[in-house]
């Protein structure tokens, strides 16, 4: 789905996130359900900007949630103590 290597390269802030936020931090719009569709369509070669426009992410607060996010949950889950 999403190339892990590319994700790591973009993680320059050192910030680790688990899974995409359910709602936009600023305006409160529910956005998590768009994450998988965005990446499925980007994998097909569609432009990120155009997909975001068509998904209804009009405000830059919601778009920023997706631009800055990296799914780390699968990596973190491997170290879960049971």
């Amino acid at each position: 789905m999403i190339q892990r290597q590319e994700q790591r390269g973009r993680n320059r802030t050192g910030e680790e996130k688990m899974l995409v936020p359910i709602r936009c931090f600023s305006c409160g719009k529910p956005i998590a359900h768009l994450w998988e569709e965005l990446h499925a369509r980007m994998a097909k070669g569609e432009d990120r900007q155009k997909v975001m426009d068509s998904l209804g992410l009009d405000r830059y607060c919601c778009r920023a949630q997706f631009l800055g996010h990296i799914d780390m949950i699968e990596d973190i889950a491997k170290f879960k103590k049971n």
Binding site: M18, L19, I22
Partner: protein, 276 residues
Amino acid sequence: MTGQSKKVERGEGEYKMAEVKSLKQDKLRGIFLFENTDHTYLNTLRRIITNRVPVMAIDEVKFMENGSAMYDEQIALRLGLVSLTTDLESYFVRDKCKCKGEGCARCTLDLTLNKAGPCTVYASDLKSKDPAVKPMFPNTPITKLLEGQTLKFEAKAILGTGKVHAKFVPGLMFYTSVPKFKVKDAKEAKKLVEESNKVLESDGKKLALSDYSKTDFALSLVEDHPDAVEVEMSSTDYVVTIESWGQLSVKELMSRAIEVLDEELDELEAEIKDLK
């Protein structure tokens, strides 16, 4: 609502009834033109929509098993933020319910989830006891489970208001006043219209917006051509955008907000009558 004006006996000037026109309506968003109103009324409506209109959200989660990488609290927070379609006719706010806040079928809804990995747990996996109340966006990922990990919990959803927690916020409203353009320099104005990509329209003498939702864009263009037109922002006409986060429809959101305002004014009236 009618556009007829009527004289008010006391007070100054003429009083006009507000007029509302729908400019654009999607499933979860409506753009309206409010005429003959003012920003204090619209701001009241905006604050009531974000803070006072009750909607359903998960409030309590009892975990039986959580093998996922996320802490219980983290999952509970994510569950709370999932927007649930709300049926305001069949549920009561807990404080106003007959059970006096204990929790009964009139004010509380039980949801359960039981999943074993490897999988992604989606909001659609939540099993609701009431078919009318279910996640609005079923593809919302809640957590991911690896091989051998399980997630099992019981959750309770209640009605609440945005005043209490952001998860109960039903939507967003914002507005701008309608700009009116006076042409100062016809040549410059023509340039402006050409650059505006059909957002601004001109019939030779007058300039007008063709799409009210692009007011910001038009104003920024006008700033680049200071000699072309004079802009006057209307103090009575507003373009209002109301977005719903899925729990209620835009229309229901507006009518509920007005109901809440009415209730609060009635309360105030009763208080004033009791004054001596």
